[in-house]
């Protein structure tokens, strides 16, 4: 990774720092693009000036996947892609990046990590599961950011095909299902522990009931939402803990 990419990645960590309704994450994107556009400044100052202005325009996508768009748009500037096509690309990228990012991180990874932490604490593994979970989440986030920036820089205006062929659309739904299972397992177990007096058998039976319900939903793709299923699993756990001696 060259120095420009590293600086861009670091700046992407604060891509929402200047968020506003006027440009959303546009200013953050412009700030992150600046180190990547330095070579253009030397070779084509006029194009660089226009690119710098464009890079700070209105933009809105998932912050953790913004690097894909940043890399693609910068590469397209170096490739002399016409300005109107750049604008179209800039307008179209937020849709898949927002949707995939929301599903991957907010629907999939965050609830999964939280559930693992809760399960670890409930099982008495120790307090270290909390920093370990946070560390794991952030390592994944940063690795995704590095991959995203490189994918964008490599593909430029062909970024749509690059995203479509990558692991991202294939694995994102699996993260959601993983979250379903883990939330379903964690809620009843934690509830059983918090209710107190529950035997180990009751705890794990409660957890297994949650897993079974959510596993069924995964298999059959029922119309029940994850939240409803989790609440159902929680209720089952309370009943189980209540009746188990």
């Amino acid at each position: 990774m060259n120095r420009g990419s590293l600086r861009a990645l670091l700046r992407l960590l604060a891509v929402q720092g200047a968020w506003s309704y006027e440009r959303m994450t546009g200013i953050g994107m412009g700030y992150a693009a600046e180190p990547l556009l330095e070579d253009l400044q030397a070779s084509d100052p006029a194009r660089h000036a226009a690119a710098a202005v464009r890079s700070a325009g209105f933009f809105n996508s998932h912050p953790y996947l913004a690097g894909i768009a940043l890399g693609a748009l910068v590469r397209a500037e170096y490739d002399q892609v016409p300005a109107n096509q750049l604008e179209r690309l800039r307008a179209a990228l937020p849709s898949p990046l927002g949707a995939l990012g929301d599903q991957l991180f907010w629907v999939g990874l965050v609830p999964s990590v939280m559930s693992l932490i809760m399960l670890g604490l409930a099982a008495g593994v120790g307090w270290w599961v909390l920093p370990a979970g946070l560390l794991g989440f952030n390592l994944f986030r940063i690795a995704t950011g590095v991959w995203g920036l490189h994918t964008g820089l490599r593909s430029g205006a062909q970024v749509g095909a690059a995203i479509g062929d990558s692991w991202l659309p294939r694995w994102t739904p699996r993260f959601g299902r993983m979250a379903l299972l883990l939330v379903g397992a964690a809620l009843p177990v934690v509830a059983a522990v918090e209710l107190g007096g529950a035997t180990t058998v009751a705890r794990w039976t409660a957890g297994a009931s949650g897993l079974a319900v959510l596993g069924l939903s995964w298999r059959l793709e029922t119309r029940f939402s994850p939240l409803r299923l989790s609440v159902l699993a929680l209720m089952m756990a309370i009943v189980l803990v209540g009746v188990w001696p």
Binding site: E22, A92, S95, L100, I163
Partner: protein, 157 residues
């Protein structure tokens, strides 16, 4: 129940549309009306990635949209007709059947526009076009999400 939302949003297909409106309204299809996207495969591929498989995404030019409007309105699924700017909505409303309600969901800053509510920026020309829509019988309101209160066009002056 046919098309339940005619929306102007320059972000086109995105989370607020797909999740914010799509889930509570149990939307089965979205029509993205844009003359450029309708003939541009790579843009369509990108937008498709932002929509879950249970929602059908169609692309249409203004002319095609006006031609198919009656069919969408008879579709048993709930639908959203989505456009990126005021002029496209105006052109659609002139060609298609009357649109009862026009939703301003997200029109963002560009030179010449001023902020009317946090998520709607309009130029004087665009405002005049919306006034024309209202004069022809459409109820024009700004509302980003179903849970927020619709703001009448008059309050955006």
């Amino acid at each position: 129940m046919p098309v339940i939302l005619h929306r102007i949003d320059d972000r086109m297909v995105h989370g607020q549309v797909v999740v914010g409106w799509g889930q509570p309204l149990a939307v089965g299809f979205i029509v993205l009306v844009d003359d450029t996207v309708a003939v541009n495969q790579w843009e369509q591929d990108l937008y498709r990635m932002g929509v879950p498989t249970e929602i059908q995404l169609y692309f249409a030019t203004v002319e095609e949209a006006a031609r198919d409007a009656a069919r969408w309105r008879e579709d048993p699924r709930n639908g959203i007709v989505l456009m990126g700017d005021v002029r496209t909505m105006d052109a659609y409303c002139r060609l298609a059947l009357p649109v009862a309600r026009v939703n301003l969901g997200g029109i963002h800053q560009k030179p010449g526009r001023t902020q009317r509510v946090p998520y709607v920026f309009l130029s004087p020309d665009e405002f005049a076009v919306l006034e024309g829509l209202a004069a022809r019988g459409s109820i024009v309101t700004a509302q980003d999400l179903p849970s927020s209160v619709p703001i009448p066009l008059e309050s955006l002056r």
